[in-house]
Symmetry: C2
Subunit: 241 residues, 2 copies
Amino acid sequence: MAAADSIWLRPERASRGPAPGYDRDALAAAGVALADAQGLAAVTMRAVADALGAGPASLYRYIATREELVELMVDRAHAEIRYPELTGAWLDDLLALARESRRITLAHTWLLDATATRTPLGPSTVAFLEHALGAVAGLDVPTRDKLEAVAVLSAVVSALTRTEVAQARGGRTIPEWQRAQAAYLTHVAAEGRHPHLAAAFADQGQDSESVDRLFARIVTGVLRGLLRPDGTGDPGDGANA
Amino acid sequence: MAAADSIWLRPERASRGPAPGYDRDALAAAGVALADAQGLAAVTMRAVADALGAGPASLYRYIATREELVELMVDRAHAEIRYPELTGAWLDDLLALARESRRITLAHTWLLDATATRTPLGPSTVAFLEHALGAVAGLDVPTRDKLEAVAVLSAVVSALTRTEVAQARGGRTIPEWQRAQAAYLTHVAAEGRHPHLAAAFADQGQDSESVDRLFARIVTGVLRGLLRPDGTGDPGDGANA
DNA sequence: ACAAACTGCGATCATTGTTCGCAGTTTCTG
DNA sequence: CAGAAACTGCGAACAATGATCGCAGTTTGT
């Protein structure tokens, strides 16, 4: 009944009644196991219930909706993040945090689906935010800029990791849409009406830059562009719609 | 039957048989209208069929799956992008493109859902890519860097616009999860265990920077960080897992 | 002791994307 | 021009899914 509040503000169990046979963390663990093995779509209420040896309806004693289950899963995954000590160099510290984020995302690729539209706020995700803000605490920029930088950082890490996962899957289980997209792109490039695209297409030399370095290079570039106080802050033209 | 290929490589109709009563664009238009009014979730096969005055099963004469319908919708929305002439200043040109992207996303907020996990490749989205590459054609950086920059740009625009949409909805129809998240965040900030978060929370002065300027500032910063050839390219420490 | 408040859960519901097969229509082929 | 081939719209139905309801049993608080 009490579903209006965040699940993190709802007591895990009440005082009356028999002891529950499971708990939120058990559901989350079962969900994570399923998602790790077969993707987020495999996390159905029935599948989770089966994994626990429970009936499907029983899950609703612990969560109000499937979305909440995913919230628990996302937070559980973020609990795997290890926070290194801050070095004081904000750029290095943020990069380290980004690397951890990438690491758990590669370990649980369904995170890309679960956090695609929004990232649920739970203890672990909040802890991540706290650490990120701590890394830039010493910087002499407005708080707002820091929040923006952290938000953009998350978006960039997701985007990069998404690409990485898509390519890594090349080994097996190439999703059908990926084949179809590649075919269409080849078609368009060969058609002649998109010169820049065709040029980029032809220019696909194997750069042999390690993914780690690529990741670091882009994240570093983005963060420098956002937080280094050398920009004028003036976007160039003042007019806009 | 021919569902393996991209829909853009499949002929719209064959030569035999009676003339179709509808076409792909009609489906896309109906879908867009529904999504504009009630969100992407309202775009069910039945709803689209009803809007067209057709039976649900008829839609499958034009598309292979609902996902393809969304692809058509996304491409149709991107067709609304107006491409200004290139000024030659790559940063200004990319910013203009980003603004157009933001504009259509605010006009069709469901795009944030439809492109959350991947952006489908169609004529209009490819045209966007072509123009973006054209804007940086004169830049003396590796092709790879340009592709990365465009990809990151898209991700950042999406993230910023998503935030914007979430806040703009404050007027009415505040999603339930947003209230719940805010409540939890307040709780955490008041708890005392997250000083940096609490500080940021308390520091929510009304900056009164226009959203347009904020958007321009961030996009500019990110692009400068990625494409301006002043970075060393060396991320600082060479070691990583 | 007794009620309140819980627990697990079988049964069931509404919604959804999708498939099948049929009857009718148009086009190609010889 | 006949007949086959390939389409069209679509009613009916299916499988899967998230979620609800109510019941029987259990524990807690007073």
